[in-house]
Symmetry: C2
Subunit: 311 residues, 2 copies
């Protein structure tokens, strides 16, 4: 659970001190906090009593802030994991901790700052029974909670990196497909992997265009498995229905090319296709979708349907 001694505020870092040690195969329950502060939430209309005490404690007592804004829970040291491995993160369940979320944008963030050169913040009530968000009168959005950020430590040479841009260590992917029942595969870059989790979203569209989703606090149960048999340069994922290849870069075209190349590599190495066949198969069967446009590095992912493989 998030306390002043179990969170990393705004960074992924190979030098960070683990707050928990687990064995490969263990299940862990992880609570994560909304990416905001009590004063901002109350300023936007949240009742003082509805602000989590854990958020108050962390904001009051954590003085070691990284470059980013996310309060991440961890790092978790996974015994046996080391550079060159892959950490398989099975996302078993996700629950909503609080009955509200927020959405906000600012004058220098989001994908259309030239159109919206000012700040707005909106509190969105969440109905956890019906699993819908009451966005506005007449507009209810079905919830699909997921963690915007799940990552391990980047290579030590990268030092302490901001929690905002996703990268080879996964991190702030903001991929709406990573709901309960899905699995994220992350390249491991340092001993123990040093997993951090946070940036809970009650729901989001591909793109996350104004720079926030329905931001909220979540609890998740994860099984963590060290995969010595897998090796990867970029994160991948799997849902009950799709394989997901990912591309991440500052430039949208480069991120898109990376994602498609990752999809081709996946099809060649795991399904035995030739490179030409794999390129063709992506064209005729797989969706190239925008993950997010707003985190410094942008993301693109390719959804490869499992159902096309008949054996």
């Amino acid at each position: 659970m998030p306390t002043p001694t179990t969170v990393a505020w705004g960074y992924y870092d190979a030098a960070a001190k683990p707050v928990l040690r687990v064995q490969s195969g263990d299940e862990v329950d992880v609570g994560t906090l909304i990416t905001s502060t009590p004063s901002r939430l109350q300023g936007a209309g949240v009742d003082s009593a509805d602000v989590q005490q854990s958020l108050r404690d962390i904001v009051d007592n954590v003085k070691d802030h990284g470059p980013g804004g996310h309060i991440l829970t961890g790092p978790i040291y996974v015994e046996g994991a080391d550079s060159g491995d892959v950490l398989e993160v099975r996302i078993e369940s996700i629950d909503l901790s609080i009955p509200y979320a927020y959405n906000a944008f600012g004058p220098r963030s989001g994908f259309l700052p030239e159109d919206f050169p000012y700040s707005r913040m909106k509190i969105i009530p969440l109905d956890r029974e019906k699993m819908v968000a009451h966005f506005a009168p007449g507009i209810d959005i079905p919830l699909h909670p997921f963690f915007g950020s799940i990552g391990d430590a980047p290579p030590a040479a990268m030092g302490r990196v901001s929690s905002a841009p996703p990268g080879i260590f996964a991190g702030n992917l903001d991929n709406k497909e990573l709901v309960a029942g899905t699995t994220l595969y992350i390249p491991v870059w340092t001993r123990g992997a040093l997993l951090e989790i946070g940036d809970g979203h009650a729901g989001q569209g591909n793109g996350e265009v104004d720079i926030t989703a329905m931001e909220t606090s979540l609890r998740g149960r994860f099984q963590l498995i060290v995969r010595k048999d897998l090796h990867a340069q970029w994160p991948r994922a799997e849902t009950p229905t799709h394989y997901i290849a990912m591309g991440i870069d500052k430039d949208l075209v480069t991120a898109t090319k990376n994602a498609i190349r990752e999809a081709i590599d996946f099809l060649v190495t795991t399904k035995g296709l030739t490179r030409d066949e794999a390129y063709m198969l992506v064209s005729v069967s797989s969706d190239v979708d925008i993950t997010e446009l707003v985190d410094g590095n942008v993301g693109v992912h390719v959804m490869i349907p499992k159902a096309i493989f008949t054996h």
Copy 2:
């Protein structure tokens, strides 16, 4: 049906001579031809007897080729349509005309020409009973036939434009969502609208990354309605479950911004949201997806779910 006198090979053009005149509200059946030639198809393995006679007739007799490669059926003059209106194209049914499709890429086309600097063409058998494509042993792709290109004439000042890049007149959108049961709304730029239809696809992924889908010949039934009450600068669409806003530009970032601005404009003008609310609503509820990456102008579309609107 496509014959040497009822097709426009490779262009949209306000000066093109109509091949049919219909009233607003009429239904029309339109046959369209695969974007290829008998010699290329036979070279890739299609039996001579399986090449449509209509394709042979057109290739032998049509000498007026536009800059593009698509054999489009039309133009169809819709009585009463004029510049400033919107043409509502209800796509009522789509049937597969032939039991095969092809996929192909070339050294100077597709999204990864630097990785694939050569040509390949593959014939893909279509099972029209089971509605699957036999891509390869062990890989069957569900079919979702749609027309890659549905457009009216561009403004007369643009002259004869290539059938490849989509634009304000719609055209070669290559939007996989436009299956039977959906509706495309196209700004009208000249008297009679001058609708052309073609580039049949048996299925495709978002992005159409190698520059082709499962290319085939299709028959479609369309209801064409002149909408004097609607005005638009860009095409939009609607499925049973989603509204679709579109962005089109040479640059992927600009196309993405255009698509999001179109989505915001749609939400403001038809749902009464403020611009700030619309920007937020797209972020938390609507997918920004890549339509196609390969047609000169690239496309991005925003999928706005209808279900979020409770009344």
